[in-house]
């Protein structure tokens, strides 16, 4: 077995509780923060907005560095044997499919926004690229169990979010970007971590403190999203020879730098996620208008279609889907991919300045979690996944 899911097939009784613990951590923390924020912002808005204004920089630009660092750790591990990105050719079809999964909703978004006569909402266009890896993963597992479509989904999510990060850079006003500052500082950051790696430094601290700080400065002073500072740094950390599986916790006795980083950062990152929900999901419901509808409509309609088109193009280019993945599974997956949630909130906050327009886009990002329910409904209607006559979960994930 070569997929990341293969490990979970070996020891389902041990892996499933981990998945549920993961789900509890990632599915509850941000919504709890968001729920507190929404309630507070509508009951005592003055104190809520004063509080969040005081801490938003530290949460969005500093604390979230750890969360994205951990997500990047999963991606970096996925490139080693046993990971979904190993060998790299496996990512080709999802990469091509993700272009359809993002471009079709992007076109739909640009067409839907004018219908609601709130033209500035279009400034949140990078949000349509967002796919919440964690929440989407849980819904995919709920519907499909251990199916070959799971690694396919993870690859899709990684590709769409990577395209989203590029979109964010494109959306940033050119006047706010300082490319020379960015280039110099980022080159210094990469040089530092490269030297550390070649010197066989095995603790993660110098990588994160020296390289991470330089990278953070490069992004922040260069006019980009500083929360992504660890993304270029993490791949340089020494890691295990094999991937233990996507979102599988590192063993407490693991000695490699990447696992030690995960063990150290896990709880602070969860706190960051909670604070991220608290700081960003609060807005006055009275600020919402019809433009709020643009994002959910565009992604709920266009993402399944975009995935079908993108996959069709990939197959026309002689790339092959896993044998057990057909059009019904793709439609369901298209709905799962509409869940932007955490990533959508992040993209929204990064792309649009504070104000009523951002509030409307954030509400759309929160509503996007409804894509999970649509996916369950679609799976039931199409009789696939757990709703199929032959439960595909029994099929090999190595397809």
């Amino acid at each position: 077995m070569s997929s990341a899911e293969a490990g979970s097939l070996d020891r389902p009784s041990r892996r499933m509780p981990r998945i549920w613990r993961f789900a509890t951590e990632y599915l509850l923390l941000l919504p709890i923060g968001a729920a507190i924020a929404l309630a507070w912002a509508n009951v005592e808005p003055e104190s809520y907005f004063r509080t969040t204004l005081a801490i938003e920089f530290w949460v969005n630009e500093v604390a979230m560095v750890l969360f994205f660092g951990l997500i990047m750790k999963e991606v970096a591990e996925a490139t080693v044997p046993g990971g979904v990105l190993h060998p790299w050719r496996r990512a080709l079809l999802p990469l091509v499919a993700s272009v359809g999964l993002t471009l079709v909703p992007l076109v739909a978004f640009s067409l839907v926004v004018p219908l609601f006569d709130e033209p500035r909402v279009v400034e949140g266009w990078p949000v349509v690229f967002a796919t919440d890896l964690a929440v989407g993963y849980v819904f995919a597992r709920l519907i499909f169990g251990r199916h070959a479509i799971i690694p396919f989904f993870l690859l899709l999510a990684i590709c769409t979010n990577a395209l989203g990060v590029i979109a964010l850079a494109m959306a940033a006003p050119a006047t706010d970007m300082h490319l020379l500052v960015f280039s110099v500082l980022m080159a210094a950051a990469l040089a530092v971590v490269l030297i550390l790696r070649q010197s066989r430094v095995s603790t993660f601290w110098p990588y994160v403190l020296a390289g991470g700080t330089l990278s953070w400065c490069a992004l922040h002073f260069g006019g980009f999203e500083a929360a992504l500072a660890l993304i270029p740094i993490i791949p340089f950390l020494p890691h295990a020879q094999r991937d233990p599986g996507f979102f599988v916790d590192a063993s407490p006795d693991a000695q490699d730098a990447l696992s030690r980083f995960e063990l150290w950062a896990r709880h602070p990152a969860q706190a960051a996620l909670f604070l991220f929900g608290f700081v960003n999901a609060g807005f006055q419901l009275s600020a919402l208008f019809w433009g709020t509808m643009s994002l959910p409509i565009a992604i709920f309609v266009a993402k399944p279609i975009g995935l079908m088109i993108g996959t069709g193009v990939a197959q026309a280019a002689r790339l092959h889907l896993p044998r057990t993945v057909g059009w019904r599974e793709l439609i369901v997956l298209g709905f799962i991919a509409t869940i932007g949630f955490t990533v959508a909130l992040f993209f929204a906050t990064a792309a649009v300045a504070p104000g009523p327009t951002l509030s409307e886009i954030k509400m759309g990002a929160l509503v996007s979690i409804g894509g999970g329910l649509l996916a369950v409904l679609a799976a039931a209607l199409l009789r696939t996944g757990r709703f199929g006559r032959q439960h595909p979960g029994r099929e090999s994930a190595a397809e």
Partner: protein, 293 residues
């Protein structure tokens, strides 16, 4: 026979109503409360006007009538200058045509952006934005700060900080689309914007803030020493949508309206006029002693 008589009665009632409205309009405009002093700064305020509807045209006609006795030469626009389609022909229909008599009389319009305005309208010369989302200009004793509250980025806040710091005029007036305070039932005050903007206004002594967005007219009691107006019914109207609270000083939500203002020395005089020409609010505001540097 019966149908004929009903029709006659209806026409007669309609004629009486129209005559009454005309009389009321004349009575209202003749009852101007503004000093109309020579050399004073005279301006009008409109918001949420760009519907291209009969009601917008009625308000525009009322402004033209008022202009004849109170020759304001500046109109502040609170945003939502254009609803719906915003092609060149639409911009004419929703701005160029209704305000043509004022434009021909040399009145200058200075707009801010609302949530319904497409960003390209900043380049529509007659609304005076000069291609900018936010900008400042001086008229007589007042400096105006025009903001884009749809997206209040840090660059804009830094600009505002610098612009306010450098302002030496006695009067500092800010305006933008979304109200920081208000009792409109649909939206009300936007607290997220308030916590970001109000500290700058207090720090540098802004005295007057105009906004729109809620489709009513409202004047609030001074909040932290700043006088706030909501003028969001110069085309749109949300009838009966204005609530009451301790912060309500005056309001009008039964018909469309615009606001006329005059600054004479340390006093701002204001008069809100309805679509039919009735004065629905008026008064004066003394500039606080601490403001104006």
């Amino acid at each position: 026979m019966r149908a004929w008589s009903t029709s006659v009665v209806r026409r007669a009632v309609a004629a009486v109503v129209q005559l009454s409205l005309a009389v009321a309009a004349l009575a209202g405009t003749q009852g101007s409360t503004l000093p109309n002093a020579a050399g004073s700064l005279k301006f009008a305020v409109i918001g949420d006007n760009g519907t291209g509807s009969r009601e917008q045209y009625d308000v525009a006609e009322q402004m033209v009538r008022f202009h004849k006795q109170f020759p304001f030469d500046l109109v502040l626009m609170m945003g939502d200058n254009f609803y719906g389609s915003q092609r060149p022909a639409d911009l004419e229909k929703k701005f160029g045509v209704p305000y043509k008599p004022l434009l021909d009389a040399g009145v200058k319009f200075q707009a801010s952006l609302g949530n319904h305005d497409q960003i390209h309208t900043v380049n529509y010369a007659p609304i005076g934005m000069g291609g900018q989302r936010y900008y400042t200009f001086v008229r007589g004793p007042a400096r105006f700060f025009v903001l884009d509250t749809n997206a209040l980025d840090q660059t804009q806040l830094t600009w505002l900080d610098n612009a306010l710091q450098g302002a030496k005029e006695a009067w500092k007036i800010a305006y933008f689309h979304h109200p920081l305070y208000g009792n409109g039932g649909r939206h009300g005050g936007d607290v997220q914007l308030r916590v970001r903007l109000e500290p700058y206004f207090l720090k540098y002594g802004v005295q007057i803030v105009f906004s729109g967005h809620d489709h009513v007219y409202e004047r609030l009691t001074p909040q932290n020493g700043i006088l706030y107006f909501v003028v969001g019914s110069s085309g749109q109207l949300r009838k009966g949508n204005l609530g009451q609270s301790n912060s309500t000083a005056a309001g009008f939500d039964r018909d469309q309206a615009f606001l006329a203002c005059e600054i004479v020395a340390d006093k701002l005089h204001f008069q809100a006029i309805s679509r039919t020409g009735a004065t629905v609010d008026s008064g004066e505001y003394q500039r606080p002693a601490r403001s104006g540097n």
